[in-house]
């Protein structure tokens, strides 16, 4: 929530390509984001927009803050909104895609599982896995919520999630999981690890989005400031704030 009666908080990814492309996307609308302290500072501003406070957060944290209303506007991957909370998407408004950070969240299995092409095959494998191996089928992922929802949709209950912070694609070879749910943009990392996406294994398509929090405290003044900012950015029909 903003400290001032008016004023907006904009959350921008704090590092890497996502930060770079977000700032580029804003500056192409003549909104130049300044980060005075450099990469080690977590607060910034937009030139000529004193009412906007910029905060730099990791992308996953931006998703959480948007859902909880801790920031008003943010740029993050749509996958992270869906992952952050079971009903994350109800608490935010996707204003528009920004044309970068495209990636798919997919279910991938070892290529050597020649008997498995679809989620229904995976359901068969999961159902008697424990009887055969004395443990549940293990899925490595950092997308716990997305995985649970997708598997539930296909009636797969007999598995365990192994939370993986990084290098998920190596989990099957490392023996820590049997298959993975992960993000892929070109598929080359999966292929290099001899993993194959199931025919119906696409859980969601994701890209970096401009997102507005529905749960933030939207006063008439702040709504007007939001409309003004969005109109500068362009590509957004006026009246978004009426949906809040």
């Amino acid at each position: 929530m903003s400290v001032l009666p008016g004023g907006l908080t904009l959350a921008v990814p704090s590092k890497g390509r996502l930060e770079e492309l977000t700032r580029k996307s804003f500056s192409s609308s003549r909104l130049t984001i300044a980060r005075p302290g450099g990469a080690r500072s977590y607060i910034g501003s937009i030139k000529n927009q004193p009412q906007v406070t910029v905060r730099f957060y990791p992308a996953a944290e931006i998703a959480r803050e948007l859902i909880l209303g801790g920031v008003d506007i943010g740029v993050t991957g749509s996958d992270l909104i869906h992952e952050a909370s079971e009903n994350g998407e109800e608490n935010v408004l996707f204003v528009r895609g920004l044309g970068f950070g495209e990636a798919n969240v997919v279910v991938a299995i070892p290529d050597s599982w020649i008997d498995v092409q679809q989620m229904t095959d995976l359901a068969d494998v999961a159902s008697d896995f424990r009887a055969r191996h004395g443990r549940w089928l293990r899925v490595a992922t950092k997308y716990v919520n997305l995985t649970r929802r997708h598997f539930a949709k296909y009636g797969i209950a007999e598995y365990r999630i192994v939370e993986s912070a990084g290098a998920t694609e190596s989990a099957p070879a490392a023996g820590t999981a049997d298959l993975i749910v992960d993000i892929t943009s070109t598929g080359s990392t999966l292929a290099a690890n001899q993993l194959r996406v199931l025919d119906d294994g696409l859980i969601m398509k994701s890209e970096a989005n401009l997102i507005v929090s529905r749960t933030a405290d939207w006063t008439p003044l702040r709504k007007a400031q939001l409309e003004a900012l969005l109109s500068i950015m362009g590509g957004v029909p006026p009246g978004i704030s009426t949906l809040l």
Partner: protein, 361 residues
């Protein structure tokens, strides 16, 4: 007119009656057994907490699991036991924590399973009566009956387990039924490969992918399922059998009529199914006798999602359509929890807050 606290006191008396032991179960429990028994789907509803060394605990999410576990740990297997419980449970629904009052009965290791189930039904009936609910809507389902049906209808073994595993999950079962009703075109490719060839191909692929041949699915397992799939695709279930299966699953009406209908459709299909139906009939009749005003439905496709249920399952709903009591027979649960032999188990859980809402409407 009874007050809420009088009703609660009556429930406490029922739970503490002389023939049963009221179990005391800690509020904080290791989360592992819940995940092991019920998997991720139930696990997402747990309220978890983690110790500094990464061990997960959860707030008590039900009573059945810890009671059954205690029964095993105390070395009681084979000893007929009757446990009751009453107290709060904690879960999360749509990321919101909820605290609910639950009461129930667990009958473990009872020599006469039919008698035990009738006791469970009677217990639920009495509990509902405390809240002045004398004519609940009762839905009965037959997990054991469905398994017996798949066998009697002569459905190939490999298909049988695929169908059984989707029972209780309407969407997944419907998709499978569609697949059965419209078998894929048989691909007239080369003749089926020999098992050894397939194993060799899979082994090579696994090794080149850096996979252990023993840690996860083995080459033999993958090859066997691959060949089984080929065989199943070339020998689909006859369409009459699929139609019979669909008819069976669509049965949902008052118990007597429903069971008559199943009996008739089986006779028409050329096999006798009266013996397995007999047991369900008895329990339905017992239920009806307990609550003459109740609407007792047999729903052939009704089953809880958890695969440790074995025999008859039931749920009772009230005026608001909420489930007030649910339970049944779950003979596979104790084995799942580590018992060395199957243990007869049946029980039910009651949602006290909902009962109170019904009574005070």
């Amino acid at each position: 007119m009874k007050t809420a606290s009088e009703r609660y006191a009556a429930l406490v008396r029922l739970v503490e009656s002389r023939t049963v032991t009221r179990a005391s179960v800690p509020l904080l429990l290791p989360a592992g057994p819940y995940f092991d028994l019920a998997g991720e789907e139930f696990g997402r509803n747990l309220l978890l907490t983690t110790t500094n060394n990464g061990v997960e605990y959860c707030l008590r999410a039900d009573f059945t699991l810890p009671i059954a576990q205690q029964y095993i740990e105390d070395g009681l297997i084979g000893v007929p036991s009757a446990f009751t419980y009453l107290g709060p449970i904690f879960r999360q629904e749509n990321s919101t924590p909820v605290e609910l009052e639950q009461a129930g009965l667990e009958l473990l290791g009872q020599p006469d399973a039919d008698n035990a189930l009738d006791q469970v039904l009677t217990f639920a009936r009495w509990a509902l009566a405390i809240y002045d609910i004398t004519a609940p809507n009762v839905r009965l389902g037959g997990v054991g009956l469905f398994e017996a049906f798949l066998e009697a209808a002569n459905i190939p073994l490999a298909w049988r387990s695929r169908i059984r595993h989707r029972f209780g999950h309407p969407e997944a079962l419907e998709r499978l039924m569609e697949r059965l009703a419209n078998p894929e075109e048989r691909n007239d490719g080369p003749a089926p490969d020999s098992r050894d060839t397939v194993i060799e191909i899979v082994t090579d692929a696994m090794l080149s992918g850096g996979l252990s041949l023993i840690g996860s699915r083995t080459p033999e397992e993958i090859a066997d399922r691959y060949l089984e799939k080929q065989a199943l695709e070339s020998a689909p279930i006859p369409s009459e059998t699929v139609a019979l299966l669909q008819d069976y699953l669509s049965v949902a009406e008052s118990a007597e009529a429903a069971l008559d209908r199943i009996s008739a459709m089986c006779k028409e299909a050329g096999f006798d199914f009266d013996e397995p139906l007999y047991q369900v009939r008895n329990h339905a009749a017992a239920l009806q006798a307990l609550s003459p005003g109740a609407d007792v439905i047999f729903d052939a496709s009704f089953s809880p999602r958890l695969d440790y249920y074995t025999g008859i399952v039931f749920e009772m709903t009230g005026a608001f359509g909420e489930v007030l009591a649910s339970g049944g027979e779950y003979d596979r649960m104790l084995e799942r929890l580590g018992a060395d032999e199957p243990v007869k188990a049946s029980g039910c859980a009651l949602w006290v807050d909902r009962l109170e809402r019904e009574a005070s409407q």
